[in-house]
Amino acid sequence: MSDMTTDPLLAQITGPTPGQLLRRRIFGHQGLLIGAVVLALLVLVALFAPVLAPHDPYAQNLLERMQPPVFLGGTWNHPLGTDHLGRDYLSRLIYGARVSLLIGTIAALISGLIGTAMGVAAGYFGGRVDAVVTFLINVRLAMPVVLVALAVVAIMGGSLQVVIVVLGLLLWDRFAVVMRSSTLQVRGREYVAAARAVGCSTPRILLSEIMPNIVNNLIVVVTLEMAHAILLEAALSFLGLGVQPPTPSWGLMVSEGKNMMLFEPWMVLIPGAVLFVLVLAINLMGDGLRDVTAPENRS
């Protein structure tokens, strides 16, 4: 039978590997590249905040309060001006990136773990497990996130940890829904039946047959929920129920600046703009990832 190897048609392997195709698609996608570069820059800023920040973000200097940014006639000592307590605005922005990214990442991680476990279990096992998970998703969807977060913060008191945990425990619904339907789709493929017929255990099937084929959807949802969590933190902090002062948070900066909004609009616009850029970058990246990691059948 070894003479069959000489068949030229059989020896022919056409096209690049999936990895090569993926790399090609990534570098051909502008939105993804822009989003990724901006996000990477913001992550670097957050990581190296102590090096980059010109001042201590907590240091108050009442003699130099409410100084305008450079482009509105301020000095280079405070490039983006100072707030109503004389704290350096640029330093607070830089440290605020830490808060936003920390909350976004950890909340998305917690809710991702919860939602993925629930969704994959529901999709793979079906039946009663699916009924229970679907019920929990419906219960969760019936609860308005902001109201629940307000109630919890009112009871537990607002702090960074409470906000992270509350958001992490509330934002798993989309993970569960998306992972459930992706798993349902993949479960019916014959390679899953083949793996079972080979004698694979259920954990192995879930981890090595199902997960690799749905992880692209997971990445997209992670980015969306990260942006969602960052915006919610800003909203909660703005309402005074999220991160508590004096922690530098962009939502808190908008909140503190809102009293002066008519006279010093930059106090609201600067943190608002940075928040906008971060969320836009994350969404651009998520959008691009969805385009790029679509299954092999698209050309």
Partner: protein, 333 residues
């Protein structure tokens, strides 16, 4: 492969295998039983190829799933080498029975390299270390006619025929005794179909494999099978040697199936099977003989009494035309 093989222990034996699903229609509907496989008894000697033919929905694939241990039969038992197999022994079963699926585009995990796909059975059963597994993959790929360098490629880089060869390599790497081929060629181009069929034939001769070959293509079955079983609504209505079935089809359904084989002459169009288009609802099968609403020679008895298997020289048929003892071919063709 002849009647003498009945004397030795069959390598695969089904005794009264029944699979009933409970189907719920609508939110408040009561669950109704759907008998997908109904009291099927079959036996296969070593090296035999049993062709299992029938329309879509007749229970062929459910039977395959039961044999692979993916579904547990509601009743009856499956024996391999005379040893009873429960669905719980899936790992044990996996060493002896392996599947080749219909669609090679869906049966290979697109995220895994060919080496990972083919060596998975070895990995799962803790056979050898990674070097010996890699060597085994190279050998089995050579046997199915693929060069060793495909090991590092992915399914998306391969053609349908190449993929099906990979699927065959995965099925054979554990050296199983029985291979369940669930329509292994129906998703392939006609030119590739014959290559794969010839490969399956060669492999059977080389490794002494036993095939259960599920197909709706009678030409394929005639080419490869030694015995044929015709399935209708979960029951085996006729089972016999392949030459016997094609020479003297007994059951009216078998006769209709044989008429449905397309001829190469395009002028003849789609042949008339005289069956009508309607396949009966398996949730509410017709009383008496399940086939009677579509049968051209149905009698009054067929509408009320279910037929029982009647022995024929080489197998059995389940039809009132053959009464209790009548075994010679009839004039009904």
């Amino acid at each position: 492969m002849t009647a003498t093989s009945k004397a030795e222990t069959p390598v695969l034996e089904l005794r009264g295998v029944t699979k009933t699903y409970s189907v719920k229609q609508g939110l408040f509907g009561t669950a109704k039983p759907l008998t997908a496989v109904n009291d099927v008894s079959l036996s296969l000697g070593r090296g035999q190829v049993l062709g299992l033919v029938g329309e879509s929905g007749c229970g062929k694939s459910t039977l395959a799933k039961i044999l692979l241990g993916l579904e547990a039969p509601t009743q009856g038992e499956v024996r391999v080498d005379g040893e009873r197999i429960d669905a719980a022994d899936r790992r044990k079963l996996a060493r002896r029975i392996q599947p080749i699926f219909q669609d090679p585009y869906s049966s290979l995990n697109p995220r895994k390299s060919i080496e990972d796909i083919v060596s998975l059975p070895l990995l799962v059963h803790d056979v050898g270390d990674s070097a010996s597994r890699s060597k085994a993959v190279r050998e089995i790929l050579d046997i199915v006619g693929l060069p060793a360098r495909v090991m590092q490629t992915y399914p998306s880089q391969m053609s349908g025929g190449q993929r099906q060869r990979v699927a065959i390599a995965r099925a054979l790497i554990m050296k199983p005794e029985i291979v369940i081929c669930d329509e292994p060629t129906s998703a392939l181009d006609v030119s590739v179909q014959s290559q794969i069929l010839n490969l399956l034939g060669d492999l059977r001769a080389e490794f002494g494999l036993t095939y259960l070959f599920i197909s709706h293509d009678l030409a394929v079955v005639e080419h490869l099978a030694t015995r044929v079983a015709v399935m209708y609504l979960g029951r085996i209505v006729e089972e016999t040697q392949v030459a016997d079935l094609f020479d003297t089809p007994r059951h009216p359904y078998t006769q209709a199936l044989l008429k449905s084989v397309l001829t190469p002459d395009p002028g003849q169009g789609v042949p008339d099977t005289e069956l009508g288009m309607e396949y009966p609802n398996p949730i509410a099968p017709p009383p008496g003989c399940h086939f009677h609403p579509r049968c051209p020679v149905a009698m009054d008895k067929c509408r009320t009494d279910r037929p029982y298997p009647v022995a024929t020289p080489d197998g059995h048929v389940e039809c009132h035309l053959f009464g209790g003892e009548q075994t010679q071919p009839t004039k009904s063709a």
